[in-house]
Amino acid sequence: MPIATGLSQERIVLVIAVALFVVFSIALPGFLDAGNLLSLIQNVSILGILGVGMAIAIIGRGIDLSILSTMPISVAWMLSLVNGGMPLWLAFLCALAFVVLVGIVNGVLIAYVEIPAIFATLAMGIAVYGFGKAYLVPIEAVYISGGGTSWFYSIGSGRVLGVPAPVVVFALVALAAWLFLRYLKPGRFIYGMGDNPAAARITGIPVRPMIVVQYVLISIIALVAGIVMATALSHINTRLALSTMVYDVILVVVLGGIGLSGGKGGIRNVIVGTVLIGILLNGMTIMNLTYTVQSILKSVILLAAIVVDTLLNPRDEQTAQHGDI
């Protein structure tokens, strides 16, 4: 992180977000409406929740490409168990056990078998999707059938004190992750491991068990995101695992300023990245731009953020780190 200019990537993205926000507020009638602003955040809250999970991976110098399989498969299995007559709490425990297992396998592959995280989780993502489709949920779209009256079903669609529930869940997940990373020993360990794994091990940090804990946490966050998504849309489709959404999640994290080389950044970066994407999507929808134009504009703004960062904070021997991508 450069000190000279005082403009880190996070700040650059924040400036762009604020600039866009001001422009949209002036130019687009109805943008600055409280309802619109809440729905702006709501529309990216699932992305944000997954971003928090991805941030935990990347800060610890890892990455988790399997979350986009873990999320739909675990929730689809849970819903099909409920549709088959199982009580909700028991089905939830089954899904929880499933994601914990996925997290443990991820962690063990990375920490003990020493496969690079990007390959271990890529393979696990495919394995989870394949296993899920073959044995747990043969039909892609699993609907929440009829009589769901439990509060559980309003996680994605209800409101808490006027705030959409998905926004509240995003805030809670972000808060919990922030407290964990900032104040708990395992959280500090993750920064240590990300900054310099060898030094972390020599210092006495139990690096390998910590990696397992890290990936279990990420899997659980994926389950939470999946529950929000399913209860918001009243169904979940396992085909999500074949989508490119995982890149959007990485984008939110990296855009916010969490370096892929690990050890840097925090939850604040995820929020900044998520909000920028939210403002962009919302404004472009109000302007009624076509899907293709939206994609072009989105990528141009993202590239601009990276270019500005590179110009203001050039890499040199002091800032470059082993493992930079």
Binding site: N36, S39, T238, T285
Partner: protein, 341 residues
Amino acid sequence: MPAMKLLKAMAAAAVLTAATGAAVSEPYDDGQSKTYYETVKGKKVAFVPLSMGFDLTEGWNAGLQNQARALGYTVEVRDPNWNVEAGVQAANGFIADKPDVLILHPLDQQAYNRVVPRALAAGINVIQINMKSVTNGDAFVGADWYDLGVKQAEAVVAACGKDSGKNGKIAIVTGQAATPTIVIGNMAFDDVFGQHPEIQIVARQSADFDPAKAQAITSTILKQNPDLCGIVGVWDGQDSGTAAAIREANMQDQVFFVSSGGGSKAAACDNIENGSFDAYVSYDVPGQARDLNAALKILLQTKPEPGSNPFALYTPLKVLTKDNLTPSSCWKLEELKAMGG
């Protein structure tokens, strides 16, 4: 040797009973039925769906397998899991195996353009289901996407147009831009709305067949146009997201939402019943499964020169609303598996 004689006598008796038994159980032939059963028996049918595991293909396959079991032929399925290249490979693999009929479910108009002529040249009859390549096979079974678009657009015109007393403001939340179902459907929307100048399209956005995107887009559109009268959706899988946004904005009474799809109970009728969809154009998968089986039986019996005389069985579309909903309007996969086709 008395023992040997006894054995011979027993064997003779056994043959005699078997022969008379066979004679007794010989089914009645009305002049056509015997040839019918004999012609289709033992035939080989191959099916390359877009992907298994979703309501349309699972429904068709349930019907195909039921008829195959009843008539003693086989339907082999290779699942390309949404991947066009894998689909082309699967189809080519089947062509090498020389089945009697190849059923293709193309992702788009171009995907199987080379596969269809190759199969025809190899002497295999080709059926295309619900999506058609530019090249004709021997039969097409499925929805006429233009007709489907017209029916959806007309439903929204009836709800928001001149005679409804409403303001005519509508939005279109469409799907993946390049797919022919969407391209053809959009032409139909434009043609119908072109004849109704009172209809004003305030937003036209693609949600890329992703319900989460549909929800995000719709919530923004509703915030921008609080007086919106109607929304046109394109496919129930995506439209559940649009419906969620309408529900969340408490605008279910105000916004008329028309969707479409294969008409499975969880995706269609449940949503019509709970008010998520105000109208739904169904292409009725059980009916399509029956049509598919009919096309198959025709081809197996008449054995036309592949590609010589293409015919089509366009699906009669059903416009479902809360008022005309009956217990048999939609279908469940378990029921279709038990006795569909």
